[in-house]
Symmetry: C2
Subunit: 212 residues, 2 copies
């Protein structure tokens, strides 16, 4: 296909495609003439993944190059592909945050029996939040977190189920990104609505806990 069709099918503008070509994120097409090149389905898949890494996960061009390079070396290693795309493995340009009490998170993960990468940014994100809650006078202990973690396990099963049956590794990576990063606001919206429903169930009719 020509660049105009690649643009139409990927939803990425011609200007942006040219930028990705210059940056080496997208391999050049098969040159037909001095001014025209031909692109194939591999270009389309790769372009969709680039769009998701930059536009959805918010990576820089250089971090995107790093992920694409790593993916190229592990086309059959789904676990590593997911680790790279879902942010389980820290990228070079992701700043290492101060780690407030990672021991607390380590203990939780051990109790859960989870297999989580040592340098996973999510470990620090969790430790950060626990530290913030403590600073604000609302500490959460492990006993409170555990049932949330068990629900997260069930959510992760639903997430991974959606990647089942996709053979192409670039496509696995793209769908994993869309269905995790993009799904986050939807899951938080569902939680807010569920809270409202649960609050109505418990405190309905304006009377304070009349039904409890």
């Amino acid at each position: 296909m020509r660049m105009s069709e690649l643009s139409r099918r990927s939803g990425v503008s011609v200007t942006t495609i040219k930028y990705y070509l210059r940056e080496g994120l997208l391999p050049v097409g098969r040159q037909l003439s001095a001014t025209q090149a031909e692109y194939d389905e591999n270009h389309l898949r790769r372009l969709r993944l680039i769009r998701a890494l930059i536009g959805v996960r918010g990576l820089s061009v250089s971090a995107t190059r790093e992920v694409l390079g790593a993916l190229a070396g592990h086309t059959a290693d789904t676990h590593r592909i997911l680790g790279l795309t879902l942010g389980a493995i820290r990228l070079a340009d992701e700043a290492e945050a101060d780690s407030p009490e990672p021991a607390e998170v380590d203990a939780l993960i051990e109790e859960l029996g989870w297999d989580v990468h040592r340098s996973a940014p999510a470990r620090l994100a969790l430790a950060d939040t626990l530290a913030s809650l403590r600073t604000l006078g609302a500490p959460l202990d492990r006993r409170v977190l555990l049932p949330y973690a068990r629900l997260a396990e069930e959510t992760a099963v639903l997430d991974l189920d959606q990647l089942d049956g996709i053979e192409d590794s670039l496509e696995v990576a793209e769908r994993a990104l869309l269905l995790t990063v993009l799904l986050e606001p939807a899951l938080m919206a569902l939680r807010r609505m569920a809270q409202q429903n649960e609050s109505a169930r418990r405190h309905a009719g304006g009377a304070d806990r009349a039904d409890c």
Copy 2:
């Protein structure tokens, strides 16, 4: 207590407390002399809630004033307090977003049997995300969303359980904010780690799905 103690116990600087007093968010203390005033536990609770509304939920001063005013009129109505603080009820200065296909979200909520406020911002947030996923070529249908919504129900039960037994309405509002808005990054971090664990379980050993 004097303002210095109010500052120490709330974690809010004296400069900021003076600003909240000028803006009318915090009622003035009992005047002891021309330059000194006395504050009580009610000031402290209210200040903690203001800090949470502005610092955690990210509200403007005028939206915070609106929430505080609404709370004052509904001190015994826990459901309404939660609605206001958790963002179930839209505030005057929260822009009404374009609502892409709310019908889809309405149908989901009906199928779930949830009691959700008509103007809840979470409805639009969910519709937005579904529209984005569709634009990106990864539409999610209701059949896929339903099990996520059921897990959100269980999460909401855990959330509301944490507010049980708190009598003071300002304190209910403050804890509800901390435990919902602030907990979001922690829940997303748990989900990422659970995904990694689930991915390891399914694709362990670097072999593509060797264990499935």
